[in-house]
Subunit: 442 residues, 2 copies
């Protein structure tokens, strides 16, 4: 017998992915009324004030954004180019599509970025540059200082990752070895105006972090970068060229990344047009339309997948049995990006692992429920699935087939577990990414 | 300046502890109307139908329960005796107070249990035995089979703990090496009636687990106990006496623990009079009275403290910044019992550690908030504190004193962290235990 929640859940998943599709995000939130470009709830821009409009962009979802911008602005666009991950392109008319490697950048990113810079370098006062940014933009938009090579960068990254430096510290170094990141793209675009439209794949939507904030103010400095190098005793390990470059920066011979007081940001607007919260609110709305009472817990899920799963399973059990946080028919929603610390040699992803760990905790639940966790980009770890789902019938299935849930968990082998019971969620690449969505209907 | 939430929070904590005080639980939920003992929302018992009333009990909070029962029933009680942890007694008139060791049981528990059995062994049909049960009752109420000593038990426990056996498996063994646990006390009381009043210190309030369920049906069997012994290859490690006893059980020479179909349970009522949910609902009610919108997440918190803290901090941040699950003034509540996997050599407890880990995640929160986590028994790990609290001023304090939160976390040294900034929650022993309470006001 079909679980009564499953049908609703499947529609909800489709609807949420539609809501954060970069093409529709642009189409839904931007309207052209004569010469006026209306950005919903944000700003109205009179395009008649601009002589020329240029479009650049980078990230896994930049192609559908570019397509929508083309449809919206058409012949008003003077020139444009975007750089996406290999295989993530689509036919564009006016804007040039280029592809490069992700997540490790290759020579094509450097080459393609130079193409984009050639376009924006034409921009003068009274010109508008639209910058399309989605997750992956950090590796797909990069210009290195004179003399620094990709190999120098790769070695530095390796050193930083094994040094124990925090992610913020690594980002400070990386921003100061780039001529794009940390607001430097906006500096280069000035005195033309920058309109940056952003799909956020980072918890809390921090502008300085999404794609390393090419058009956002940056608080970090060369001095901090040098401090971090010495904190982790990397002075004698990094290349002489990088050291020399940082020294020049420290002496003020290279301009630092612009902070919030920099005049460039009077010419710059950064608008988040899609994020995890938007997808969650779509799920919530749809669940309510289907008669569920909802609790949207947070769009900031972090932490070890299997530990979060214990708390989540507790919330589901108390929901089913005691009516809190909400009684049946209830829907609990949350989003973000949990992590998995690998200890086994199996195959899986954070979403599949969290689902498996919830299954373990709900092994005695007899009430009807549906739980799922999936990545909005359609990819969960090194698998071809976006995530997985379970319901109360899964528990019976597991008993019948004598599958040992704790064994699969211990081996981090959630993929093979869900594959054999046919409960993977497979969306294929979605060309969007607003992190993961987790919900339970009961 | 005083955090505007702190005052409310401190009142809430007091009120919640009052709500789960065993004395008041009895006083609030049991009333005597003439001969009728009214147990709120449960049952009315006509005491005139019983010739005699006996009272026994065990657990850290049994003394205040006994005191309330004495005040309620007074001279109607024919005899009574309870066994509590050393130092957890208080003056009683009719019911004899005895003390023994906890959590490792000593000879006094065996001696004191025999005293209680002498009382209930007088009970006949038309007599009522009131059994008072709180956390710790498993070690404070025990009768071992003929020939099995405390030392045999200690060695077995050691073997089981190092075998990797699951807690349910260990309990199955323990119940079958006891003449009290797993419903056997109720069997011994029959044909007299058993009224068991229970304060739950176990997630989900499973009757068979609280104090090892002396008056509750049990599904485990001697056969399972023997299987577990062989599963973990302990046959040649456990004492010959235990092995012989299990063999007799397997041959049916010793009655197995009674399951739900056993007629004894027609004579037995088990009522949970206090639990984590009751404390949470009191907190929730008080917060609402103070004008907060509330979300009670769950009474089933489980999992690693610092990982749960990441999710909790996410919920708090999205509450403060985006209004979900609830906007300011908001209150998020949850309860249960997280765990801490020790890796450092510091001093702390699960509540202090979860609070410290939340502090780490909220390091950039500038909005006013108050967060706390504490054990309702007044004890958090091997410390003299019940838990700890933080607010947005804690963050400033930490910066000023140059305290490294991640360092304290890594050393599991939450106690010394909070002690030096004077943010421990110290209630002293409360003589109750409904696990931990966690809440945040913002």
């Amino acid at each position: 017998m079909m679980n009564r929640h499953k049908n609703t859940a499947e529609k909800m998943i489709k609807s949420a992915l539609r809501a954060v599709d970069p093409y529709y995000l642009i189409m839904d939130q931007l309207k052209l009324e004569g010469d006026i470009l209306v950005i919903q709830n944000r700003e109205k821009i009179n395009l008649a004030e601009f002589k020329r409009i240029f479009v650049i962009g980078a990230g896994k979802g930049a192609a559908p954004m570019a397509l929508a911008i083309e449809e919206l602005l058409g012949h008003r666009i003077n020139a444009g180019a975007i750089n996406v991950k290999y295989g993530h392109g689509q036919d564009l008319k006016k804007i040039r599509l280029m592809e490069a490697a992700h997540p490790i950048l290759d020579e094509n990113t450097l080459k393609n970025t130079r193409q984009m810079l050639e376009i924006i370098d034409q921009a003068r006062q009274n010109d508008l540059v639209i910058v399309l940014i989605t997750g992956g933009g950090s590796a797909l938009l990069e210009l290195l200082p004179e003399g620094i090579t990709l190999q120098d960068l790769a070695i530095l990254n390796q050193l930083l990752l094994s040094s124990g430096a925090a992610i913020d510290e690594i980002n400070t170094i990386r921003k100061h070895l780039s001529l794009i990141k940390g607001g430097q793209l906006a500096k280069r675009i000035a005195p033309a105006r920058t309109l940056s439209l952003i799909l956020s794949d980072v918890i809390g939507d921090p502008l300085q972090s999404i794609a390393s904030g090419p058009a956002a103010p940056d608080t970090s400095t060369f001095a901090q970068a040098v401090d971090i190098i010495s904190k982790y005793r990397l002075e004698n390990k990094i290349s002489v060229k990088i050291k020399a470059y940082f020294k020049k920066g420290l002496r003020g011979e290279i301009p630092d990344t612009p902070d919030a007081n920099d005049a460039v940001f009077k010419l710059t607007a950064n608008y988040i047009i899609g994020n995890n919260a938007l997808a969650l609110n779509t799920l919530k709305h749809d669940a309510e339309q289907s008669g569920y009472k909802t609790v949207l817990l947070t769009d900031r899920v972090q932490g070890e997948a299997r530990e979060i799963a214990k708390l989540l399973a507790g919330i589901i059990k108390s929901g089913v049995q005691s009516g809190f946080p909400v009684s049946s028919p209830g829907c609990i929603l949350l989003g973000g990006e949990p992590t998995v610390t690998l200890s086994g040699d199996g195959k899986g992803g954070r979403n599949q692992e969290i689902t498996l760990a919830v299954l373990q905790e709900l092994a005695e639940c007899k009430s009807e429920f549906y739980f799922c966790s999936f990545g909005t980009d359609g990819t969960d770890g090194p698998t071809d699935a976006a995530g997985a789902w379970i319901d109360e019938q899964t528990i019976t299935k597991v008993y019948e087939r004598k599958l040992c849930v704790s064994d699969y968990l211990q081996r981090n082998d959630s993929y093979h577990f869900f594959k054999q019971i046919d409960q993977l969620i497979a969306t294929g690449p979605t060309r969007t990414n607003v992190m993961d969505l987790i919900f339970c209907l009961y």
